[in-house]
Amino acid sequence: MRLPGILGRSTLLRNFLLALVAIGLLMGLTEVMSEYRNTQLADIAYTVCAAAGLTILTGLSGQISLGNGAFMFVGAYTVALLLKHHPWFHTIVGYNNREFILVLLASVVVAAAVGGLVGAAAARLRGPYLAGVTLALALGLPVLPDYSHLESKLGGHAGFPVTAPLQPGSVNYFRWQAWICCIAAVLTVFLLANLASSRVGRAFRAVRDDEIAASLAGLPVARIQILAFVVSAATAGLAGGLFAVVADSVSPGSFPLSLSLGLLAAAVFGGLGSLSGAVYGSVLITLLPQWSTDLSHQLSLSTNVVNNLPIAVYGLALVVAMLVFPFGLQGLLAQVWARARRRVGATRLATR
């Protein structure tokens, strides 16, 4: 189905309009939802940022990362430290857009820089070696605040609270948080979608599909791979920054291994490389703990079971997904869609 005129030709314009529609819908949603639901929406939204970046890294450029939670950690602490140490945020009465955006931008930049370093260090690594290094990253970065020499600066094991900027006027605090996160998520997905269909996206795919051929064709393979890391770290950093604001505090304990694995799960469930898949996946992993808690209360299961059920379900779902739907939800939907199309096409032919 081709859209008329310029809409049909320009992916950028199409994505832009989609983004506007999405923002409109989400704004409407935040109006009607309860405070609790708005918090959930905020959680889903920043998860989308991180999951989208990861799905680009792993699906599009073919590099696995088990450590994007560490980039979230970097972003979160950047935001938290900036908000803590810059008194001009506190003294300004009411709401200040510009500085807050700068703070979030800082989380993106710092996380991107760390991502670049990691990507450069890991540039020659493939497959399980890369997986192992990123796994070590997931465990290794969040312990830094425990380091005695950095304790005073980074708040140590207990972490420290985050003083978020106040919301404007009479807007509900939770609705406002949901707004920010949703706008960030839509923006992130928009930018990534354009990246994916640009020359850079094609370069990612070329390197993923056949490194040697890409290198022979003149592509700077290592640089492209590092760029992919930078992109995914940047989005994870943004997610971390938003998390710091929504959660009101940061501590090393907020960034366990299961966070990184959860992001991977979200990308996998949705279908690696698919941005809409990242959205479904994020919804799934954010709501899953709540659903399983509700379920276990209904079934009156013991505390041990209740606590561990979400993770058990993730783990099981990951295994089942790989064995049964290696292409994730997006792949499944695509198959269903293709089959439906063929049937429609066949009916059309038959009725000629």
Partner: protein, 294 residues
């Protein structure tokens, strides 16, 4: 701690890391998969042993034997059911399957035994030996650990290099197609490889659990996986000898860093160590294959 003691203590720990590394290398050589669930598997078998020893007051040795047996079974089952379908597909799928298994095992262990901390009762004393007035950072328990780990390594070496079963397993790993043509049941060899690896891991789990109080926890063995993986990578994923050496390197390096820099950030040191080694030798120290360059 004197440097000598640091090294002794580090090497003692290192033999355990080497055992875990060996398990990972066994699996890698036979199926080209890194078993990220290894930490979860050995955690689970150690908990089973703990249940017997701590709750049902059985002997330490029974616990050890049961753990190893459980490991053998678990390894075989995992390979046959979960890994076989993804063995020949894209490597990412196998990674995700093992990660999913890791999460599932940790969660199920938490459901059965809770998420708190418990201790595994060691069989031997944890008190350090004395030579005259000098303390040597080696306890009877550690000596036992080292001997057990080395014994297992020697046994595996003999199995692989000197028996026809070992020959079958190696040929299945190096060239499954040719092995099949020669009548080797490659599938069975792969299952056996996983079973052995899991058995070795189970041994390592029980050994390390007794070295510190409050070690037992569903998530408590994540570090061991990472340390074992680092050791395996440093030595080269293809090399069993490398796994053992890598274990010693990691054990000593960590001990030195802990002592001279900080004891709080072990995981960060591991990450740094891994990065440094891989930047210099992307395929590990002992690997024979070189990185393909265009």
């Amino acid at each position: 701690m004197t440097p000598v003691n640091l090294i002794i203590y580090g090497m003692a720990n290192g033999t355990i890391y080497g055992a875990v590394a060996l398990a990972l290398v066994l699996i890698w050589r036979s199926t080209r998969i890194v078993n990220f669930a290894q930490g979860g598997m050995l955690m689970f078998t150690t908990f089973i042993a703990w249940e017997l020893v701590e709750r049902h007051h059985q002997s330490y040795w029974l616990g050890l034997v049961v753990a190893i047996a459980a490991g053998l079974v678990l390894g075989a089952v995992v390979e046959r059911l979960l890994v076989r379908p993804v063995e020949n597909g894209p490597p990412l799928n196998a990674v995700i399957v093992t990660l999913g298994l890791l999460l599932a095992l940790e969660a199920v262990a938490g459901m059965i035994w809770g998420n708190g901390l418990s201790s595994y009762p060691p069989e031997f004393s944890l008190n350090f030996y004395h030579v005259g007035h000098q303390v040597i950072y080696l306890s009877p328990n550690f000596l036992f650990i080292v001997i057990a780990a080395l014994a297992v390594m020697v046994a595996l070496y003999l199995l692989f290099q000197r028996t026809s079963l070992g020959l079958r397993m190696r040929s299945s790993a190096f060239n499954p197609e040719v092995a099949r043509l020669l009548g080797v049941r490659v599938g069975r060899m792969l299952t056996l490889g996983w079973a052995l690896a899991a058995g070795v891991g189970a041994l390592a789990g029980v050994l390390i659990a007794g070295t510190e109080p409050n070690y037992m926890n569903p998530n408590g063995f994540d570090g061991l996986l990472i340390l074992g993986f680092t050791a395996a990578v440093i030595g080269g994923l293809d090399s069993p000898v490398g796994a053992v050496v890598g274990g010693l390197v990691v054990g000593v390096a960590l001990q030195l860093l802990d002592n001279y820099v900080s004891g709080d950030i072990d995981f960060f040191f591991v990450f740094a160590l891994l990065v440094v080694v891989l930047m210099v030798r992307p395929n590990g120290l002992f690997s024979r294959r070189s990185v393909r360059r265009v």
